[in-house]
């Protein structure tokens, strides 16, 4: 009998995201079970359902063969389930012992003494080095993670869920974490290990379940599979189809974007882009393929001016813009479809009209002496975007927050494409949209290319890249590890390069 059995778990996020689609999963006692999938495959949603943070629309959860219903994590904890999130749930101004004491039943008199004793006991037996008297704010990300794991162990966890635990760790810390996880498993506990990194599946797991687009693709014994097979399962079989056939020829056009030996740091001060070089010509659509977290975000932010380059050059229309402001680059004809749409791409509480103005407030057409806004013109432009991109909006003076997620996305894409930009930097422009809307947006991007814009398209969806790009570059760990022109697209090789296999 499996320890955990998930049956037909389905979770729908309105308006159109089916995050989990009839998922069946069995986890055995004492195994490390990896949940593998790309971003958006539904891994986190599934784990949050098992942890009681989300409630499924359909499906059942069985623990020890008994059907259970979790209304909140508190219910899940009663069954010994604990989850360590990517963002830690610790109080920075308290010590390790105080944090662990919070949630524990202890004596009223000098409770910390007992807590500290338990911490030492547990940390010794699993090799988790933690000083109970350290303040949380003094700890590195890896140490905080240890505190979270320790807290779960002290709570007599049976099923430990780790959500992308290595994303914040240095290679050394990863090795240490894996040692601890093996000890935990050997003591008879069960671990669910969420990841998108193939390498780790083989380093740590006993079995692996692959998710793609909300569905379970396969569950395998780790020892009976190989990296190539998992990569194929994770990314999918890809067929080149010819939608892009009516693209006009761009060769011989001028370069609109040039990146030279670019080095960029991420938020933690670690080099995330390590010497990237490429050119985008007018009319060309260049794709950047890669699993999230391999430097794409930092690359895009450096190109649009939101992040400083520590080395190298960026040229837009042959002008060196390495140190130029975002505004200067926008004025040169740059359009940016950002990854974080709700957070950056729109201002939810401002009107739809104001949101069209957001990246166009400096244009002469919309202002009088660039001081007074011509709302008549802006309303006209808004109606045009709404009708051309089929945004479902009843009243353009209503806040953008009244639109559904998909319509917000169409609004942003429409706004950026209707500016007649010279360069378009688009990050996952169709993520979360239904098929009709996606193919329409792809068509509009191709049209923009045909009108002379150079397009840099960052996407994890290889189908999409192959469908519309003239050229695909694969990014892995901050470097371009492969480049393919349309005549030589090899989805299989690209998929492997994305997963860090092969290449130079």
């Amino acid at each position: 009998m499996p320890l955990v059995k998930l049956k037909n778990i389905t979770k729908f996020f309105p308006p159109n995201i089916l995050a989990n689609d009839h998922i069946n999963l069995e986890v055995n006692v004492g195994e490390i079970h990896a949940i593998l999938g790309e971003n958006g495959a539904g891994k986190s949603t599934l784990m949050k359902i098992l942890y009681g943070m989300l409630q499924p629309d359909e499906g059942e959860i069985y623990i020890d063969g008994r059907k259970v219903t979790f209304r909140s994590p508190r219910d899940a904890m009663k069954y010994g389930i604990r989850m360590v999130h990517q963002h830690f749930m610790l109080i920075e101004n308290h010590t390790v012992a105080e944090n662990i004491a919070l949630g524990m039943r202890t004596s009223i008199v000098n409770p910390l003494k007992e807590v500290k004793r338990r911490i030492r006991e547990v940390s010794d037996s699993y090799g988790l080095k933690v000083d109970p008297d350290d303040y949380i704010w003094q700890l590195s990300a890896g140490e905080k993670q240890r505190v979270e794991i320790l807290r779960a162990l002290i709570d007599d966890v049976r099923i430990l869920i780790l959500d992308e635990p290595t994303s914040i760790l240095t290679p050394n810390e990863v090795e240490k974490l894996f040692e601890v996880l093996r000890r935990i498993r050997d003591s008879g506990k069960t671990i669910l290990f969420v990841t998108h990194k193939l390498k780790e599946v083989f380093q740590i797991s006993d079995r692996v379940t692959v998710l793609r687009k909300g569905r379970v693709i396969a569950t395998k014994e780790t020892s009976e599979t190989c990296e190539e097979e998992l990569a194929r399962l994770m990314i999918g079989e890809i067929a080149v189809n010819g939608i892009n056939s009516n693209k006009s020829n761009y060769s011989g056009n001028g370069v609109v974007l040039e990146v030279e030996d670019l080095h960029v740091l991420n938020d933690k001060g670690v080099t995330a882009v390590k010497g990237v070089n490429f050119k985008v010509r007018s009319g060309e659509i260049v794709g950047i393929a890669g699993v999230a977290g391999n430097g794409q975000r930092e690359l895009v932010e450096a190109i649009v001016g939101l992040r400083r380059a520590v080395r190298g050059r960026i040229r837009i229309l042959n002008r060196d813009v390495t140190k130029a402001s975002v505004l200067d680059r926008l004025k040169l004809g740059l359009a940016h479809i950002p990854e974080d749409r709700i957070g950056a791409g729109v201002v939810p509480r401002l009107s739809i009209v104001d949101n069209i103005l957001l990246t166009r407030y400096f244009e002469k057409t919309f202002t009088l002496n660039s001081i007074i806004i011509n709302y008549g013109k802006i309303r006209e432009a808004t109606r045009e975007v709404i009708s051309r991109f089929n945004v479902k909006a009843s009243d353009i003076s209503m806040p953008a927050s009244t639109l559904s997620g998909g319509n917000i996305q169409k609004l942003i894409v429409g706004r950026e494409l209707s500016k007649n930009p010279k360069i378009i930097v688009a990050v996952h422009p169709t993520y979360g949209l239904d098929i009709a809307a996606s193919s329409y947006i792809r068509r509009m991007i191709i049209d923009a290319g045909n009108k002379g814009a150079g397009v840099l398209l960052v996407s994890e969806d290889l189908d999409e890249l192959i469908e519309i790009c003239d050229r695909i570059m694969v990014m892995f760990e901050g470097r371009i590890v492969g480049e393919f022109s349309r005549e030589s697209f090899e989805p299989h090789t690209i998929g492997l390069l994305m997963a860090g296999i092969g290449g130079g």
Binding site: V326, L330, G345, V347, L358, T367, I371, I372
Partner: protein, 354 residues
């Protein structure tokens, strides 16, 4: 066991019906609370209401006093509304008002101003004094991410101490019998008033014009647009290429400058001198005025009048009903709580779910 969960959610839009219901509910609750308070203290509530009304809005004098007190509240309030719209939390209007008063008072007392230009120069000096005082925390915030709540708040006390130093020390007047006052400013530097009142109308006109201009700025200009975007989402403003530090400095200059004008108005229009206690906390009260006006400069005109009438009416409690001055604070505080209740009910909805 059935669990009942209560959520509070911001309304997308407030319908007229909701506005009327929430205003009536809050007013009713406020009246009940205040009637109870008077009852406990053995004062006939009807008599008390009558006295308060007569003192603030029910007589010519009361109305004129309400308008007089609304002037500094209006000037400080509209400036703060613009700053708060950008989520720049200027708590320092009081200090900025005092610096405006000091600079304009200094100009009036110690510089040989040409009489025809005296009043414009005094106003300009007030604006610059307040704006410079606000510029210090603005630059600290824009360049070094220093929290403006702390700096603007603390600079209030510095400004107050500077004023006290001046009126107790080097600027103390020769014929003030030891009071912490300066000499009186020359008559050509005093503001004209509406006859029979203390309404120094030049300052009032500046306040009204500022409110209209700032309303226009916020709703129709690119600068106002940038202020609104920054206030809603700093990340979106970065994405759109809006320069955060420039806008922070701009709104602080506007709000500090207008508070400084209020200070100049008090010196040249009311006190005709610099003195200890030149402002009974107008800069702090203006924070409430700005919020009560929903950060809309035109509505701030109304909220400054409303709060001024409460201040004037509160005085009547002490003078003609004979209750202690502590009760004024209780009375004002109670009214404010119910005003905020009205704001809460009309902006948020409460959802009960099982």
């Amino acid at each position: 066991m059935v669990k009942i969960r209560i959520y509070v959610r911001r309304r997308v839009r407030t319908s007229l019906k909701v506005k009327i219901v929430s205003a009536s509910l809050s007013t009713l609750a406020a009246v009940v609370a205040i009637v109870l308070m008077f009852h406990v203290l053995g004062v006939d509530p009807l008599y008390a209401f009558n006295r308060i009304y007569m003192a603030s809005l029910g007589s010519y004098y009361g109305i004129s006093e309400t308008i007089t007190k609304s002037i500094p509240l209006l000037l400080c309030g509209v400036g703060l509304a613009v700053a708060y719209k950008a989520k720049v939390w200027n708590i320092g209007a009081e200090g900025q008002l005092l610096m405006g008063a000091i600079v304009s008072g200094g100009l009036a007392l110690f510089t040989p101003l040409p009489p025809q230009l005296a009043i414009p120069i005094i106003f300009l000096g007030g604006f610059i004094g307040g704006a410079l005082w606000a510029l210090i925390p603005a630059v600290l915030k824009a360049k070094f991410q220093v929290n403006e709540v702390i700096t603007t708040l603390m600079m209030n006390y510095i400004a107050e101490r500077i004023l006290l130093y001046l009126v107790y020390g080097p600027w103390r007047g020769k014929e003030v019998w030891g009071f912490p006052f300066t000499s009186r400013i020359p008559s050509y530097a005093r503001l004209p008033v509406v006859p029979g009142t203390r309404i120094h109308y030049p300052t009032l006109i500046i306040g009204l014009v500022s409110a209209v201009l700032l309303f226009f700025m916020l709703s129709r200009t690119t600068i106002g647009f940038k202020v609104r975007v920054i206030g809603e989402s700093i990340r979106a403003s970065n994405y759109a290429g809006i320069e955060y530090s420039k806008i922070v400095i701009l709104v602080m200059i506007i709000s500090g400058g207008l508070a400084g004008l209020a200070g100049a108005g008090e010196v040249a229009g009311i006190q005709h001198m610099l003195r200890k206690g030149i402002s009974p906390g107008y800069g702090f009260t203006a924070i409430i005025v700005a919020w009560l006006g929903n950060l809309n400069p035109l509505l701030v005109i109304a909220s400054s009048l409303l709060i001024a009438s409460i201040l004037v009416g509160g005085d009547a409690i002490q003078i003609s009903i004979g209750l202690s001055s502590a009760f004024i604070n209780l009375f004002n505080g109670t009214i404010l709580i119910f005003l905020l209740l009205n704001y809460f009910l009309s902006e948020y909805e409460i959802i009960v779910r099982r």
